[in-house]
Structures are given as structure tokens and as C-alpha cells.
């Protein structure tokens, strides 16, 4: 299932540094994601996880380093160019369009695609039946869990090849979190590569194949998720053990 080509990984951040003004938020981060994998990135508040995803999406520009996707250098690609290539992010805090209906939010997900493919919409409604019921309702009036489902559904409308998820479990009840992670598994089994950012390290490592641990803008540890779950430092710092 896990596949890397001779040009290197399916996706790679190579020694990337990013600053907000004087503050250096990423300090030479290297991350690889193989096609078909679920890779998680865990770390404490302010470690630089969201910054990493925003850099991948082209919202933030690296000061140093390179981005590669599918054998191509995409370091200078614009944000819409990144979406066009199939890298789509579900941002932290969902950021759905509050005054658009559920249906319109989903249509925005398909913004870059030329033809509205009803098959994709049907598939998304099958994954999240509640959204079909709520399709006419304004996004801003959905519950937190529904908003998270909508955010994921919206990104799937773009037919991503690499899905970036930023803290999908944030602020949700345990039962909903389980549903969301089950859905992530299912999405992956349908062939979408997933790069998952989480503070809920136990859940993230449980669902992913490999993981990276980030501290203050640097990757400090990387291994298979199984090994990370056994790692003493990880247990102490992130698993409450």
C-alpha cells in the first residue's frame, strides 16, 4: 500500500523554515508522506503544527526549504495551485462558511473542479448522512460535530489526493471523535493519503501508520505509530502516562 517513487516521497517538506515576522515558527522541518499512508504529526500547543499545514497549503511561504508533491517541486505554487494539484486542507477550527448553506459549503469545496460531479456529492452524503438532512441549513447554525463533518465533507468535494487534517477532534465529544476517526480510516481505505495533525496523540497514533513529534518548530522524533505508542518519552509527554 505504501508507495514512494524514485523521485522521493509522494509528498515531502524538505528542511522548511517559516517565520511570522521576527518569530521563527518552523526551524528546518522535514516531513515525508508516502502515497496511501496516514501520517500523523503530534505536538503541544504552539509547536508549529498548524504552521506546517498552512505552509503545505501555500497560505504561508517558506523562508527556506522545498516542497515536493508527486515528483514535482511545488515550493512556489500558489494556494489555489496547491488545491488544483490535489492537496486539500481541513483547517483548525473548521472554518466553514457560516452564512452559506451546507449545500453551498460543499459546492465551495468543489470550486476548482470544472464540472460539478454528482457522484462525489452522493458519496459525501453517504459518508455523512446528517449533512444531507441539513443541506439547506446555514453552516453557522450547525453543531460543532456537524461543522467538523461538513469541513471534512467539503474538502472531499475537491477530490483530494492528499488530505491535510488539522485537529479534527478539537472540542468534540468522545463519541463524535470516534466517528470522525472511523471516517478518516474509511477515507484512507478509499485511496486518499492523509496527513493528520492532532493533540489527541493516542487517537492519532492509533489510526496512523507513522508519526512525527514536533516541539517548538522542530521535528524531534519520527517512527512508526506502533513504536511511538510504546516510546517512553511520548507516553510521558503526550499520552498522559
Amino acid at each position: 500500500m505504501v508507495k514512494t517513487n524514485e523521485n522521493g516521497a509522494f509528498f515531502k517538506l524538505d528542511d522548511v523554515s517559516v517565520s511570522y515576522g521576527q518569530i521563527e515558527a518552523l526551524k528546518g522541518v522535514t516531513v515525508e508522506v508516502g502515497e496511501g499512508e496516514i501520517v500523523s504529526l503530534i505536538g503541544a500547543n504552539g509547536a508549529g503544527k498548524s504552521t506546517t499545514l498552512m505552509t503545505i497549503s501555500g497560505i504561508l511561504k517558506p523562508k527556506k526549504g522545498k516542497k515536493y508533491f508527486d515528483g514535482e517541486d511545488v515550493t512556489d505554487a500558489s494556494a489555489d495551485g496547491i488545491v488544483g494539484r490535489g492537496i486539500v486542507q481541513v483547517p483548525e477550527g473548521r472554518r466553514i462558511f457560516p452564512r452559506m448553506s451546507v449545500q453551498e459549503n460543499l459546492e465551495m469545496g468543489a470550486f476548482r473542479r470544472h464540472k460539478a460531479d454528482t457522484g462525489t456529492l452522493d458519496h459525501v452524503f453517504e459518508l455523512f448522512p446528517i449533512l444531507k438532512e441539513r443541506r439547506g441549513q446555514k453552516g453557522g447554525t450547525l453543531s460543532g460535530g456537524e461543522q467538523q463533518m461538513l469541513a471534512i465533507a467539503r474538502s472531499l468535494m475537491a477530490e483530494p489526493r492528499l488530505l491535510l487534517l488539522d485537529e479534527p477532534s478539537l472540542g468534540l465529544a468522545p463519541k463524535i471523535v470516534e466517528d470522525i476517526f472511523a471516517t478518516i480510516n474509511r477515507i484512507n481505505s478509499e485511496g486518499i493519503t492523509v496527513f493528520l495533525v492532532e493533540q489527541n496523540a493516542a487517537m492519532a497514533l492509533d489510526v496512523s501508520h507513522r508519526g512525527y513529534v514536533m516541539e517548538t518548530g522542530k521535528v524531534v522524533l519520527q517512527d512508526t505509530s506502533a513504536n511511538l505508542l510504546e516510546n517512553e518519552e511520548v507516553q510521558k509527554a503526550y499520552l498522559g502516562g
Binding site: A79, D80, V83, P91, G93, F97, M100, E104, F111
Partner: protein
């Protein structure tokens, strides 16, 4: 009497509505009060007048020329005066907008002179627009109005419908709404925000120019300062309706026009401008989000 004031008020209000939409759309998307928008309105009127009266072109060619010039001006203005300041504090962009407004007023004085001049060509009277109608209704009384007034109302209504279709149905309209609600999220969906902002300025400027041309024809006058008061009034209308809210700009424009019409008739025409700004102050104090403005926060 009452009917006459309603008709007059609606006519002025329709003009305010057309201009107010430009303010509100730009504010909705980049949170900038485009103070030079009144000058776009003025420039559209002047260019149309130049093609029509000075160069003798037919109205059907002169009006689109004025609109096109305004669109190019609006888009250029954004590119030159606002885009480089997008990450600066908002006050800096506002000062740039005031500067652009003064620059365009002076540019118009340089090109066309400071005095008021007629829009229409006495050798080619547009007789159709001058035709007057008289109606009399029970209770509401009598009124006289011209084909020009009807033209203004019909044009504003058609544009409102077209704009609604653009915003609701087209790709650029959806991009505008998404960008207004959450710019980062819009970019994450693949929206090219720069292009969307350009489109917003283009549409707003076109509507401003249409208003300028209609006013130029109705009063048979254009002058370099015509955008100043009209711009302030339209801005008031935009705030009254809820800045950032497009239907609100239309509602605000019509209400302000009516308020002015009645104030002019029953109090004194000297009070018309005072009424408009009293409205602005009262709205800002008691309901800053306007009549149709969102009361819920932008994000949850």
C-alpha cells in the same frame, strides 16, 4: 404631494443604492471604505459625457464607454493604491483611499475644468427621457414624473436582479461570498482571492458609473465634485443597510432617498443633507450593524 415625494425619494434612493453597493461589496471583502468610490461614479459620468456631448457619439456607445472607463479605473485603483497596503494597518489603506479620492477630483478638474457642465447635447435632445407623466391617486395625491425617473428606477431594479444572480449563481459570485466570510478558508478551497477582489472592484465601479451617468442625464450636469456628496450619502446608505450586506445597500439607499425627499418637502430643502447625516449618526450609535447587518459573529 405624498405620492410626489415617494416617487422623488425612490429615484434619488435608487441612485444611492447603486453607489452604495460598491462601498458595501468592497467593505465586505477587504474591510476597506473605498473613499474614492464617489470619484469612480464621477469619472464614469464625465467619460460618458465626453463621448456623448463633446465627441457626438450616440448614447448607446457613450454610456458603455463611461462604464468601461470606470471599471478600468476602479481595478487600477485597487491594484495601485490598495493592494500594496493589504497587510498594513487599516488606517493606512483608508488614508490611501482619501488620497486617491482627492487625486481623482483634481485630475477631473485638470481635464474638464472645475465648473459644472451639461451632460446633454442641445442639438440632440433626448426627447424620450423628457416626456412627463401625471398621476393622481386617492389619499396619496398627485405626482408628475418623467421617463428619466422611470429609467432610473427600472435600471436599478434590473441591476439588482442581475447582481443577485451573479452573487448567487456564478463562480465569481460564490468566490466573493466565500472570501467575504473567511478569506483563508476561501483560499483553502482554491479561490484566487486577488482575482476575486479585482472582480469586486470591477462590478462595484460599473454600478457606480451607471449611477453617475443616470444622474448626469437626469440633472443635465456633471462636475468634478459631484462624487463627493453622492459618495457620502451612498456610504451613509450602505451603513444604514448594514455595511457588507448587498441587499442592505439597496434597502438603505431607498430609505435614505425617501427620508431626504420627505425632509426636503415638509421641513426645508436646506435640511436634506443634515437629515442624511443625522441618520448616519443615529445608526452608528444605536445599530452599528445596520438594518440588515449580521448580528451574529462572523465565525463560530
Amino acid at each position: 404631494m405624498v405620492l410626489q415625494q415617494i416617487i422623488n425619494g425612490l429615484t434619488i434612493g435608487a441612485v444611492y443604492a447603486l453607489i452604495a453597493t460598491g462601498y458595501t461589496m468592497v467593505y465586505g471583502i477587504i474591510e476597506l471604505i473605498n473613499f474614492a468610490h464617489g470619484e469612480i461614479y464621477m469619472m464614469g459620468a464625465f467619460v460618458a459625457m465626453t463621448f456623448f456631448r463633446l465627441w457626438g457619439m450616440p448614447l448607446w456607445a457613450a454610456a458603455p464607454a463611461g462604464i468601461l472607463a470606470a471599471v478600468m479605473l476602479g481595478v487600477t485603483l485597487e491594484y495601485v493604491a490598495y493592494r500594496p497596503l493589504r497587510r498594513s494597518p487599516r488606517l493606512v489603506a483608508l488614508i490611501s483611499a482619501i488620497g486617491a479620492s482627492l487625486f481623482l477630483q483634481n485630475l477631473a478638474m485638470k481635464i474638464w475644468g472645475a465648473r459644472r457642465q451639461p451632460f446633454l447635447d442641445p442639438n440632440r435632445p433626448l426627447e424620450f427621457f423628457q416626456i412627463k407623466h401625471h398621476v393622481s391617486l386617492p389619499v396619496l395625491g398627485e405626482a408628475t414624473f418623467s421617463n428619466m425617473q422611470i429609467t432610473i428606477l427600472v435600471t436599478a431594479a434590473v441591476i439588482a436582479i442581475l447582481l443577485n444572480l451573479i452573487i448567487k449563481r456564478t463562480k465569481v459570485g460564490k468566490a466573493m461570498r466565500a472570501t467575504a466570510q473567511d478569506q483563508v478558508a476561501a483560499r483553502l478551497m482554491g479561490v484566487n482571492v486577488n482575482r476575486t477582489i479585482t472582480a469586486t472592484f470591477a462590478i462595484g465601479s460599473a454600478m457606480g458609473a451607471v449611477a453617475g451617468i443616470l444622474v448626469g442625464m437626469n440633472y443635465n450636469q456633471v462636475w468634478p465634485m459631484m462624487g463627493y456628496m453622492a459618495g457620502l450619502k451612498a456610504f451613509t446608505a450602505a451603513v444604514l443597510g448594514g455595511i457588507g450586506n448587498i441587499p442592505g445597500a439597496f434597502v438603505g439607499g431607498l430609505i435614505l432617498g425617501m427620508a431626504e425627499g420627505f425632509a426636503g418637502a415638509y421641513i426645508s430643502s436646506l435640511w436634506m443633507d443634515a437629515i442624511a447625516f443625522a441618520v448616519l449618526i443615529i445608526v452608528l450609535i444605536y445599530r452599528p450593524s445596520g438594518i440588515l447587518g449580521e448580528q451574529i459573529p462572523k465565525r463560530t
